[in-house]
Amino acid sequence: MQFVGIVVLSLLGAIAYGILHDQVAVRVCVEYFTIGHPPIFRTESPTLLALGWGTLEAGLVGLPLGIVLALAARARNRCEVSNP
């Protein structure tokens, strides 16, 4: 359960960061998302656009890092397994 919790912590933390970051970025330059990114989210709303890209991009970084972090935190050492 702790393992899953660490993965969820990393994933949700990254997604929250990504959404906040992109909400600011989309207001600086909306073309960064409409021209600089492929048209996955077909919306005219900058807020929804940033919500979609913030979730997708940050999630793709947060999930693998979260899994490796959970492994580093919770995986058993060989000596820990052999000890009673």
């Binding site: 929250a16 960064y32 972090l69």
Partner: protein, 243 residues
């Protein structure tokens, strides 16, 4: 083992540091682009309205910094988490708490200085710079020959030429690979660290000077070169042992 609760603060700090880095990089990108030190490359330069180039570059830098700091910071946090588990095992075995190798910041800095080979990083950076200069020299010769043949190209035409773009990317990639490789060969230890430092210096130099380097991608490219040096060294050692 580390609990979920013990990781909430480190993850929060990492996100905070990433946010500050993104903000500072965005401001730096905006200022440099406003001054003309930073320009948008093709094909994006034609696709984005000219009036939006500065803001686009500010966003690009903020995003790049967030990815880099978040990614590297995440790897650092993973390493620290793993090492802190080993420290706890040492402490449980009777050593004083915090007596581990990475117990203090001063200890870590001292360890960092010992692991970095200044000579290797310097040689790597010089090789990267020299390779890029030689490569750009070839482009200048090509432009000169075209001018002599009565088909001159302006600087803007050269930059917009797809062949030049591909050549630039390949040139920078190979230069960084070579610089990182030589840094690894000279250092003979901590290959990834010394290679990555070649990339870090290359990014800083690229930002401060007009040229094709300066992307944060320089760092993994140079690190890859150093890792290749480690693989090569391992193969050499196997051959020596077998002889």
């Amino acid at each position: 083992m580390r609990s979920l609760k013990s990781l909430i603060l480190p993850v929060g700090i990492l996100l905070g540091v990433t946010g500050v880095s993104g903000l500072l990089a965005g401001i730096a990108g905006f200022v440099l682009a406003s001054r003309g030190s930073l320009v948008l490359w093709e094909p994006m330069a034609s696709a984005v309205p000219k009036s939006r180039h500065v803001r686009f570059l500010a966003d690009l830098w903020a995003h790049s910094a967030s990815y880099f700091v978040g990614g590297m910071g995440g790897l650092f946090l993973i390493g620290r988490t793993w090492l802190s588990r080993n420290e706890r095992i040492v402490a449980q075995d009777g050593a004083a708490p915090g007596a581990g190798r990475y117990a203090t910041l001063a200890g870590e800095l001292s360890d960092f200085r010992r692991r970095v080979s200044v000579k290797a990083v310097a040689v790597g950076v010089i090789v990267v710079g020299s390779s890029v200069v030689v490569g750009l020299g070839i482009v200048f010769v090509w432009a000169f020959v075209r001018a002599r043949l009565g088909r001159p190209l302006s600087a803007a035409e050269v930059r917009a030429n797809p062949s030049f773009l591909v050549f630039s990317y390949v040139l920078v990639f190979l230069s960084l690979l070579l610089g990182g490789f030589l840094a690894g060969r000279i250092a003979k230890h901590d290959f990834l660290l010394n290679g990555a430092l070649v990339g870090v210096v290359s990014v800083v130099v690229g930002i401060l000077t007009p040229g094709p380097t300066g992307s944060w991608l320089d760092i993994p490219m140079a690190a890859l070169g150093a890792v290749l040096a480690r693989s090569r060294r391992t193969l050499d050692e196997i051959q020596i042992d077998g002889a």
